[in-house]
Symmetry: C2
Subunit: 299 residues, 2 copies
Amino acid sequence: MMQMDWIAVDWGTSHLRAYAMAGTQIVDQATSAAGMGTLSRDGFEPALLALIDGWLGQKTRVPVIACGMVGARTGWQEAPYRGLPCAAVSAGALMTIVTDDPRIAVQIVPGLSQAAPADVMRGEETQIAGLLADHADQFDQVILPGTHSKHVMVAGQTVTGFTTYMTGELFALLSQQSVLRLSMVAEEGADAGPQGAAFAKGVELGATGALAHLFALRAEALLHDLTPAQARARLSGLLIGDELRHIRRATRPIAVIGSGDLAARYAQGLQLLGHRSHIFDGADLVIKGLAMARRKETV
Amino acid sequence: MMQMDWIAVDWGTSHLRAYAMAGTQIVDQATSAAGMGTLSRDGFEPALLALIDGWLGQKTRVPVIACGMVGARTGWQEAPYRGLPCAAVSAGALMTIVTDDPRIAVQIVPGLSQAAPADVMRGEETQIAGLLADHADQFDQVILPGTHSKHVMVAGQTVTGFTTYMTGELFALLSQQSVLRLSMVAEEGADAGPQGAAFAKGVELGATGALAHLFALRAEALLHDLTPAQARARLSGLLIGDELRHIRRATRPIAVIGSGDLAARYAQGLQLLGHRSHIFDGADLVIKGLAMARRKETV
């Protein structure tokens, strides 16, 4: 096994993922549910050590570079947002944390903010830095699907603007807690055929504005034969379609940073609306971005 | 006191309101929280009698005309929807309920359904009948704000189409359960000044599509000085603005059936988007509509 020389940490609201790194190679990894949302201020260092203690020797101080909600006002220590336009990660901009344990030297990548329209991100900037490290000038628009989906405009290495869509959070609220839950399955079924068509219909309708088409999911279940699995897929399509109508017509393809079904649905939605896209794995890019942040910091 | 000759009942998911009527005059009224949503099938007759028992004599059988969710599949007895286009209420279309108590003769006004786009209403049709009784040919478009706001197209006495918007339910979910709750007061403050401006800004932005502007409420609270009261008013404006962009440009004013702050906000939103409106009290119209249904039934 190669010698670990730093530790990369992706620390969001509901997850904590640590990677023992040798340069840009992963030599070991560990995950816990100790997300920012579960911790009080003095709980961060113990939660991190519980995960990485086995990687630490007694003598050397290991650099730890972390990104995500760990740097929020209610996180370990607030890493003030960097204002747009700016590079996704920047030399000298990491926030240093003073730890009790002398074996680690922790730094946090700050998030980005946009003044008008007001918007903020924490964590996505690191994935974007990872994307641009290998693909500068190949993409103008980057989508990071999720609870709070981000559409990010980039030019070279610079982030020039972004918009957050609450698509994932809206989907969870509407499918689990609104009247629509009565017409919907709780989870995606295995049978993707008709759901694919229902998703596509949702995208088509959603691209004209989702909110005018939500209640029809309930009414079609009452009056016609819309199945619970179709209703769930159509709702997903409606919300993603409403989001994707804001993508600009462009010659370059759209970069989608994500994985699994969700990234595939965004790619399908983009195709339905006439856009090309490339999917990049978010876990790979966050590590690459943290490596970029570390390199820039030590230059 | 005039002699009661029938009883009007407005029976929704979360309320039960009964009116002792002499022709079209209210001689007494009573309200309880025994809405359809709180009752099992055999609970409806006792809930009604608990409210109106004091009005009933021993000898005569009093007609009771009810509208609303009491006629849903999970209500007292299902009153099948009448399909569009049709009159708001119709002679011979009432659903008769067999009761144990011989002192009442209960009939339920059926709701309306639209095949495509699929949509349903229960209760609003009675308010529309009340409106059209006195104001036929004065309005083409009727808005009934609420948990599930309805936009209804009418021509003469005929309902020709309608669309349901989940505006009230979305507002409740987003203001109470989404990340936006962190930037928002739980209730409207008394100070209407700045909230009026925040509402107006929400309507303006919402008319271009609300979903692209939701997260900015959180970000403006984090980055700038958006107050919790302003955030709540802006959210209301965003959702109402998204709904009202579907109102067609027309020479006739829009009828808004509702009351209080909510009806006033819809009227303000319509004005901001260049439409004239008249507000009608929903409680008045439901009684008038029930009287229309009774008269047509006995013709």
